[in-house]
Symmetry: D2
Subunit: 271 residues, 4 copies
């Protein structure tokens, strides 16, 4: 008979434990929600400084207005108002490579670059710049995108980026990922030939990686933040509905075209 | 051309606003994540006391060990490790009427009972008991379940319940829903003939309703809490995998039986 | 150690069975997909006539153009092109009470009405009209909607309805649910004071119920049909993308409004 | 104002078209469900032979017993029986890289190998063997897995594989992908040093690619097949429930362990 070990929630007749704590006495009323989410993910209680950086990241990622995920949650609620869980889940399913993935991609990019630094991470700005230059050049040589660079709206600078650097510095939590990300901000024009802003999604990935959160789950924290945002979208949709107007704006502007038989596409092109 | 009004996220070249605030300057590093989730839902910044009660509720609901939702998230990650968003969404989809629904059902039950109180809510314990008695009797007469009563493990009392009452009292946030729920705890043995504990999911619904959060979304806050819990489950699964053992424990104990043609079931029973 | 009985798929070293059949020899190449779906649901192989009615229903429900579910699948693919399963799942999540639910609601309504017929179902048109009249009157008296009546586009008649009646008649599969639905089409003007078309979603629910498919799963067959439709939407999106234009048409027409603090809404209205 | 072109569903007052056809007159009752799904995906009506191969693939992939996706659908229904769409969507979310991905991976692998064949695909068995040898060697040299080889149960041969080759041959639809896949079956022992069976998921991918279906959506057809299978699982769960036993078999065998603080894992390993 297999056993299933866990350090998460467990119950007995008169007690509930979570992460080895007495849930009622020592968690409820004592531990903030961001703090708890961090603790659940890493099984270590964060310091107040770590919590502040973590919650700043969650705030930065919670809601970006009428994104595809927000529209999806509203449309799904319109179709199936009986299932709030379905509307939230549908929105989260948009949290993939393109819209929420930059946070994870940036954390991974920085991590991989750091792992190439022989003799440990650099100790001065020149060292960081050198590592940044090598990693950006190498990515460019392989035709890879540098995640965290550029923003389609904030072309002259994403206001979240300096703010998060500032908060991390206040809490003495600027680690190697943020340091390398800052260096990429300094040196990338030498390689790319133009200056791009360090974007908010990227700096969030760097900050989460510096907090020691698992790289495989950086996207998950963006999704946690977004869950709060999507609840905000649902609440607003309930009070000021727009989903039906969105639906009609598409449906009324459909244009029937004849079927366009695939010429075999990718697949048969090889045949 | 339709317009889509929103008070949530909005961006311009050099600024991001959220709920009318400057996101970088005034939200990041200044607003906790629970506080922000409340603010997004109700478009009003909560007081510190409201935030504390709200986060206590989220802590109470975040993780209950190997629930069907937790198992689902782990199994989905096993099958599709490339899609963290899919694993979280799959888990949240279990947040329906049976497992996470008590919170919402209890909030609604209390709300409906309160709306029958002529002349406003009671002002003393006797008044609350009278209203509670009427609402429990009426529900029983209609064969309806009283949500928030009973627990399959904590048969002698759910430790979260007195704790949440205590926190709400400390913050002077015991409102009509919690008051009525307490009264149900006192009077239900007169109607049901036995004493059941007030459970944690129920008291959470009462507390959320007293915070003025929309009844349609009480389930959504349980889902927000659970998102943090499911991330904890995923993180633990990555470090100490059990999903494959769970899968095998089912698959290896399958027993082939002959098909059992439906005799038409519900539908044809009428035919 | 629990055992898990099943008549569905099972494997041994050299054989795979499904529903007690040899999958390779007797199902692959021998059983159509609609036929198999029916067989899986009811564990009895349908007759050719049953398969034809069933597949006609699936065709009727497969795709209705730019519905919220179709838009959702396209937007989710735009955000997360790495996860086709997420895009399909997100679209299906809109298959709830409002957009795909009529099929199920209509099947249930007819079933419930039939269960009130003392002495079994009627045997002539006058008997059906009487039962229809009683059920429509009773629903109206309780303020309930009659599912399957009315259509926002096909105001003078939904072309799917007479066609499905015709197919069912050809296959001698007009059972009590379709008979009662037809009677509702004849008598409802007497009760409602105006003539509404019997819609396609409703007649599909009646036909599925007459096939003996479980009422709890009528919605599931609409979702199966829709899965095929959503794959069509995805394929078209890949070849002729519109999701980004849909997203921009919303995002560019957003209008920032000040936060509108909930006055407590439903919940606090009682407080 | 953007317009949204589509060849899929469209409605007018008295007519519904789908793929340019009159839905009621020319699709309902005339087009099988597998045939329609193919047509929707590729906007060309398949021949009867193409339909037979396509439906054989769907049959092969519909249900494999108590897979993680089947367990997930049952557990989600247990938790949220009010939302059939949620239970199906949750199951489909497991249709990712590990469990349902082989079909897609195999189709892509074959396609990529074919695109390296200078002068078009081979014309005799020796030519196919040469191309297969080159592609398997190249994959091995890069440390890549050969998709479609091996099966954890059917170690001496997957019964679906010869059957699908046979059906495709009967319908004269053995194209370059199936030919190359067969050649891989012949030559891989030379490279791998042992003989593995060609598995059913792989041959399905090869057959779908030979049908000219888009490579990006091969996984989607596996999901369509699985939707029918999951409805079968739900129907069986409703009649013979096992989900609660599965849940309890995990929950009752949980073992509380102390939290195990991440030592920083991947991320901090670099710091």
């Amino acid at each position: 008979m297999p056993e299933y070990p866990t350090a998460l929630g467990a119950s007995s007749l008169d007690k509930i434990t979570l992460l080895g704590q007495d849930l009622a006495a020592d968690v409820m009323g004592e531990v903030g929600f961001g703090e708890l989410a961090f603790w659940l993910a890493i099984q270590r209680r964060p310091t107040p400084g770590e919590t502040r950086v973590f919650e700043a990241v969650l705030a930065a990622l919670a809601d970006h207005g009428f994104t595809p995920t927000a529209i999806t949650t509203r449309l799904t609620y319109l179709s199936a108002p009986d299932s709030v869980q379905g509307a939230l889940a549908a929105g989260l399913l948009g949290g993939g490579s393109r819209f929420l993935g930059v946070t994870e991609d940036c954390g991974r990019f920085l991590h991989d670059a750091l792992s190439t630094a022989r003799g440990g991470p650099p100790t001065d700005e020149a060292g960081w710049d050198e590592l940044a230059l090598a990693s950006v050049r190498s990515a460019r040589a392989e035709g890879r995108v540098i995640p965290g660079l550029g923003h389609h709206v904030h072309k002259e600078g994403d206001p979240r980026t300096p703010r998060l650097f500032h908060i991390a510095a206040e809490e003495e939590l600027v680690g190697p990922h943020l340091s390398l990300f800052a260096a990429i901000g300094r040196i990338h024009p030498q390689v790319l030939g133009r200056t791009l802003p360090l974007n908010g999604a990227g700096v969030c990935g760097a900050a989460l990686a510096d907090l020691g959160l698992p790289l495989e789950l950086l996207r998950a924290f963006a999704l946690l933040a977004r869950t709060a945002g999507l609840i905000g979208q649902l609440a607003e949709e309930i009070r000021t509905p727009v989903a039906n107007d969105i639906f009609l704006s598409v449906d009324l502007n459909n244009r029937a075209v004849p079927p366009h038989p695939a010429d075999g596409g990718e697949a048969s092109a090889s045949g």
